[in-house]
């Protein structure tokens, strides 16, 4: 870390002063590893907060029991018409709101893992999110997040924006000893008065405050990198259209960072509103609350894929949610807190076009505690494979401490 700061001070900043790092410089520095290897691999983690109802996202339409358990909220079997499931493999189908993801699945750039999640039995949102973000289900004392630990040990200069989370708060997933920054948007990421910026920088740089000093330093290093990007206007490529919601805009900012080649390695975005206890569905099962949220979710992911184009070769996106929901619908056309769920993995290198994981079935005796989809894949198997094979960090014992049974699913060959 010291080396990075020395590097920054010694080169770009000293030569050009605040705010004038030319984009070619930051590009040439961070586009390649120190020893001149190719561009960095990037892992984007997406958290669906509130526990999305995986059984209505990837629909096991091949199992009649699904329809028995959910008489008023089940998505109808695919028949090619709107408002029915979108067939993937004759057994599973996508929620019709996720139709934009179908071509990506067909191009084999989207893989689905079903009956996946955290083995911890908690049905508390707070605890379950905490466990999934720390990467240590059952251990509360873990202080940092798995995505921070997933970063490769720096050997040369590292970018101050190697780990970026979109939003006003740095999520648990991203916290830890590696520098990580939170930002609402790239353009807002600056002190608006340059003169005061220098004073603030010096205050935070020299401060003895144990909590504020480190973050302050990281902030100002990142501000300098952002300044080169802020000068350019951004138009998504290939006609990609991001939805206007917070999630779509977050993904657009991540795409922009990736294309600016400023050394991004891991990114995080989240999307809420999945806690569908009541009126999960509208007039028809394929409409309503969950459908609207999935529209936003699917269109955002599809726009990201389209915008990045060939650059998806370097990128892997993984989605997760703290737990699934009850297999049986509740009395309010909704579902309560459950267990296993579904994850998406999207990227140029993924062996997509397939639903991974063993399907445990929905018969009473097959359900977890007689009520929820049982777990057949640990979420750390999925994330671990991405960390090891995509980011190239083999030290999974440090990324997911206490988990040594890791069993890759072959998502990346």
């Amino acid at each position: 870390m010291t080396s990075r700061r020395v590097f920054l001070k010694g080169s770009a900043v000293a030569m050009f002063g605040v705010g004038s790092i030319p984009s070619w410089l930051s590009r040439s520095v961070y586009a390649a590893d120190a020893d001149g290897k190719q561009r960095k691999k990037i892992l984007v983690a997406i958290f669906q907060r509130g526990a999305v109802d995986g059984l209505n996202v990837v629909i096991p339409f091949g199992e009649q029991r699904y329809y028995d358990l959910r008489p008023s909220i089940a998505i109808p079997k695919p028949d090619g018409t709107p408002n029915t499931a979108v067939d993937l493999d004759g057994f599973f189908g996508l929620h019709p709101s996720l139709t934009p993801l179908k071509p990506i699945f067909e191009a084999q750039h989207l893989a689905i893992v079903d009956a996946v999640g955290s083995p911890d039995p908690t049905r508390s949102h707070f605890d379950a999110q905490d466990y999934m973000e720390s990467g240590t289900p059952g251990y509360k004392a873990t202080s940092d997040g798995w995505l921070n630990r997933a970063l490769l040990k720096a050997t040369g200069p590292v970018s101050p924006v190697r780990a970026v989370s979109l939003g006003s708060n740095l999520p648990r997933t991203m916290r830890g000893h590696n520098d990580a920054v939170a930002m609402n948007s790239l353009n807002d990421f600056q002190v608006r008065d340059p003169k005061s910026a220098a004073t603030f920088e010096s205050m935070y740089d020299t401060s003895l405050d144990t909590v504020l000093h480190g973050t302050g330093k990281e902030t100002f290093s990142a501000v300098k990198i952002m300044q080169s990007i802020q000068k350019q206007t951004y138009t998504p490529a290939n006609g990609a259209k991001y939805p206007n919601g917070r999630f779509g805009q977050s993904l657009q900012q991540i795409a922009r960072l990736i294309k600016a080649d400023v050394g991004l390695e891991v990114a995080f975005a989240d999307i809420g509103g999945w806690d569908t206890h009541v009126n999960e569905v509208g007039q028809q099962p394929a409409l309503g609350q969950l459908a609207n949220n999935l529209n936003d979710f699917g269109q955002s992911l599809a726009a990201f894929y389209q915008d990045l184009g060939d650059r998806m070769q370097d990128v892997m996106v993984a989605t997760m949610s703290e737990f699934g929901r009850t297999a049986k619908e509740n009395g309010n056309r909704g579902t309560d807190h459950g267990h296993a769920n579904v994850m998406f993995v999207m990227g140029g290198d993924v062996k997509g076009g397939k639903v991974y994981g063993e399907w445990p079935g929905l018969a009473d005796e097959q359900l977890y505690e007689n009520r929820d989809l049982a777990l057949t894949t640990d979420f750390r198997d999925v994330l671990g494979e991405l960390v090891a094979k995509h980011l190239g960090n083999p030290n999974l014992k440090d990324v997911f401490p206490g988990y040594d049974k890791s069993k890759f699913r072959g998502l990346l060959g």
Binding site: S72, N169, M183, K195, S196, F200, M203, S207, D209, E218
Partner: protein, 625 residues
Amino acid sequence: MKVRALVATSLASFLLVLPGVSSTKSSKASDDAKKQAKLFEKKLKKDDQILHALDRLTFGPRPGDVERVKKMGLKKWIDQQLHPESIKENPDLEAKLQPLESLRMTPMETVQHYPPPQMIKAIADGRQPMPDDPILRASIERYMTRFKVKKGQDAAAGKNGAVVDPNADMEPAKPLDQVLEPAEIQVVRTGTPDKKRELLASLPADKLEDMLIALPRPQRQQLFNFAPTDVRRKILLLNAPQQVVAYDLLESKLLRATESNRQLAEELDDFWFNHFNVYYDKGSDRFLIPNYEREAIRPNVLGKFRDLLEATAKSPAMLFYLDNFQSVRPDIDVNAKNRKVKRGLNENYGRELMELHTLGVNGGYTQQDVREVARCFTGWTLLEPRRGGGFFYNDRLHDKGEKTVLGHVIPAGGGMDDAEKVLDILATHPSTAHFISRKLAQRFVADNPPDALVEKMAAKFLASNGDIREVMKVMLDSKEFWSEGAYRAKVKTPFEMVASSVRALDAEVTDAWALANQVGNLGEPLYRKQEPTGYSNLNAEWVNSAALLSRMNFALQLARNGVPGVKVDVSQFGSDPMQVAKVLMFRSASPQTRAAIEKAVADQKQKTPALVAGLVIGSPDFQRR
């Protein structure tokens, strides 16, 4: 890195060391923890005590506060704060709250005065009478046009399709040129802010209303920044009636934090509202929250925990937010033929009641307890929730079977009192005493309060039947509260940061909505925490790069008078920038901050007191309390 220091202390309290965490790290962590523990033994210097009390029990000191407390005596001042009813409220604050009418309304009145879309639809369909208020009537007529336009559209596009301009096809009763003189219209369109203010102040009430009705929406919106409170509420009412409720809530929250004389009560209002969090954007909660904060939270902030718990349990806002109003006995067949109204048991409230409101997640309950509690609460519902009806116990929906909650048998055949018994069990449970005490200590003492302190508070909680004032007294009499370990140990939440800036600068707040927006920008949108957990009490939650930059930007904007509705006059603190810095900080700045400000001052261009004030408010020092 940011979290490391913190984490070091928190890690140490768990002896459990994860595989993969190196031993050097953990021994360093336990060294830090020992150091921290020693700090809680070290008594705070006399000079720092008043400042410490003001930091913790108010939304930050104002110029002159230290002297005032000194004069009164610290002990007496604290005692007063613990009895807010004995403190005369600031008349300026009361005058400012006066126009915020929705704060005083019942939910039903709120629905009528600030109708949500479904109510407007009811009026449009003739099921509800047209209101008398001309502004509201104009607003509803506009919305009615929108409904008619929408009905004609493709039904599929209705919900998510483009929003139809409510002004479309609407002719105001009096066009603008019949209301205003040409010169006045000129001012509305292109006048300077001062001219606009002048015009708004000069118009008689009826003319003003006619003008607002006649103005196209964008121009009306432009006046928002220049309008006094009552006119601003009319603008909101015309644009979207429900926004008025959010506006009144936000205004009152910021005004009270910055101007109330009952500061501790306001701190506790924030604490308890957050503890029993409800979310503004969830359906009916839009009009239920003013009543919730006023009736359930505010009267009980220093009262008995059992009362507070029951008030929230019965409040329409909570019943709606955590879905209990829809929860009915599992075997009921309300209307088997019509699936739309099919209902059943809903566990949401039962779970959060134990996990978040009382026992805490490790408080010793099981999934079975969650279910049993939910069964006890069946029948606790709402009368016409979408029209602002209140709490209602419906015996027909109640599960009459026997239940066992945390080992206590609740016999079959009970009614509404089944849930009362649950509240009794939970409110007197040792886990609750511990959970609540620790959370209070985290807010008022430090992120990792010493166990000894928490135990003392929990013991008082149990002995006093959950008397919050008594528990607070134990904390405020403890050596841990008055220790170096507690002094400036907390990073301000965004709300505290914004409120304390206004107080430190002795700023005059005429309208607080822009301040409330700033709190949102800093990461804590008020009344809008979606999860029932509420916002975190802990430093780590608020320290990140985006938030820090936003704090610096806010500080500069506020000090140079750039926040609408807030007037800052820094010259009152003197012309010597370093003197200004000292006054605003109330204590000596750290040498590092001081050096940076001195350098900025030496750089001739930054000499203005306003800039120095901005630098002080944005400094690392000021982010602490």
